[in-house]
Amino acid sequence: MTRLRRLFLAPSWMVTVTLILAPLAVVLAYSLLTRGVYGGVMPPWSLENYVRLWDPLYLRIVGRSFWIAGASTLFCLLLGFPLALFVARSSRKNLYLSLVMLPFWTSFLVRTYAWMFLLRDTGLINSLLQKAGWIHDPLPLLYNDGAVIVGLVYAYLPFMVLPLYATLERLDPNLVEAAADLGARPVATLARVIVPLSAPGMRAGIVLVFIPCLGAYLTPDLLGGGKSVMIGNLIQNQFTTARDWPFGSALSLVLMAMVMILLWLFTRRDSEGLL
């Protein structure tokens, strides 16, 4: 029995080692090297790249990334919770759940482009407002932090709704009835019973939204123009235009470290795993 199992797992081991672990090892090595003359890498080995991170320019980018990711996550939570509650209480759960999830699975690029179409100076929103006479000059809706947040919320809202729904759906209806029986009005029941009990779902949702938002690249690139540079854009820049692979590697590892810490902080209380 073990022979068959080893045979089955061997190819996956190969893929995991060569295409998941080895690349990260290379990045780790590169982060400790120095930029070569024509790009590429060369010795000396040093922690120089990590030290460079403390430059206020880069710290500002990290700060902006946290601010944008945080705001997006917060909006997802505020907007997603009532929606999850609705789906959990409805009689056609699967239908509504599919309606929530469907946009997510179509195309990330397309969904981001949709907001470009809506928000730009000659986009739909501005055109309609100008046509209606409400504004004269177009509003600068695109190419700023706000547009990036809108794009991220739109992209990752389903990721918040899904775990919230899973937790709320499992909520014992007797608890809500008991609260009412003891004299709590709906708002109080919501605040004191439902919300606290949905904490595991909230933790999962926060993790599932914040982490991709922190490492976002496409959304700030298309919706932020050059104005809302986040860590992801900075990394991409180092590996293409700036040709500073060691610095880019260091940034990548720092991003990974932040992701790992966040994961550990939020999921250590939950035992269930995906795999």
Binding site: L4, R5, R6, F8, L9, P11, S12, W13, T16, L19, I20, L21, P23, L24, V26, V27, P82, L83, F86, S98, L102, P103, W105, T106, S107, F108, L109, V110, R111, Y113, A114, F117, L118, R120, T122, G123, L124, S127, K131, Y154, P186, L214, G215, L218, L222, G232, I235, Q236, F239, W245, G248, S249, S252, L255, M256, V259, L263, G273, L274, L275
Partner: protein, 255 residues
């Protein structure tokens, strides 16, 4: 229906509008005869432009080849992996797959690029379709394992024992008892992997070579330059196509 649930329902309607209307608008305006955002009339000119564009056709072809190959590999490997993990947990393997899921795409992309360039020093190979396919396999694998593992967790281990007891060997138990049970979720995983692969931009753009442009890369290039209704048309087609695939996948998963 009391006042609170009516308010909740109203809110839900608004949210569904928020989620779907941007895509619907995009689709509707793909039929706009004008290049600008003001509605002028119905027209299929942008669809005609899309279909007659050679670059789009070639990149779509590339995307399909890559998606089909990567999906095939990832599905087979992922199914075997999920089965192996079901028999006996391997924390390192499961942990590595989990790592691949939580790694931000940009980091996966640059890491793979760094690896490929490092290896190419010795192999005299360039970036191309093969590197894209490898990259797609690497991030699709975890998705397949997650989907198939979820289904395997509902399978009674006693069934394979019964098969062994009745005279099947280990491979027979897998083939005649477990595999038929998980077949729908394998199909669902494959469709999922296909969707993820077809749509990928970030990783693909970093590891693609000169002659291996994919559809997302072309769309990105056009979109970067500004609004182009051709993108609307392509988007509408993609949303429709992938959406259909996902619906089928969900149906299979539920079986």
């Amino acid at each position: 229906m009391n006042r609170n649930s009516r308010a909740l329902s109203l809110y839900a309607v608004l949210m569904f509008v928020f989620l779907h209307v941007p895509l619907l608008i995009l689709a509707v305006f793909s039929f706009n005869s004008s290049k600008f955002t003001l509605w002028e009339g119905w027209s299929l000119r942008w669809y005609r432009a899309a279909f007659s564009n050679a670059q789009l056709a070639e990149s779509t072809g590339n995307s399909l080849i890559i998606a089909v190959t990567a999906t095939g590999l990832a599905t087979v490997l992922g199914t075997l992996c999920a089965y192996g993990l079901w028999k006996r947990r391997s924390r390192t393997l499961a942990g590595s797959l989990y790592l691949s899921l939580v790694t931000p795409e940009i980091v996966s992309g640059v890491a793979l690029l760094a690896l490929f360039q490092f290896v190419f020093r010795f192999l005299h190979v360039q970036l191309g379709m093969h590197t894209v396919i490898l990259a797609h396999v690497s991030f699709s694998l975890a998705y397949v394992v997650v989907v198939v593992s979820a289904r395997l967790r509902t399978v009674d281990p006693a069934l394979e024992e019964a098969a062994l007891d009745l005279g099947a060997d280990e491979w027979g138990a897998f083939r005649y008892v477990t595999l038929p049970s998980i077949a729908p979720s394998i199909a669902a995983a494959a469709l999922l992997a296909f969707t993820v692969s077809f749509d990928d931009y970030v990783i693909t753009s970093l590891v693609a070579g000169v002659n291996s442009e994919t559809l997302p890369m072309v769309i990105y290039a056009i979109a970067r330059r500004g609004i182009n209704p051709v993108v609307n048309a392509i988007s509408a087609l993609i949303v429709f196509g992938l959406g259909l695939l996902v619906l089928v996948s969900e149906r299979l998963r539920a079986r």
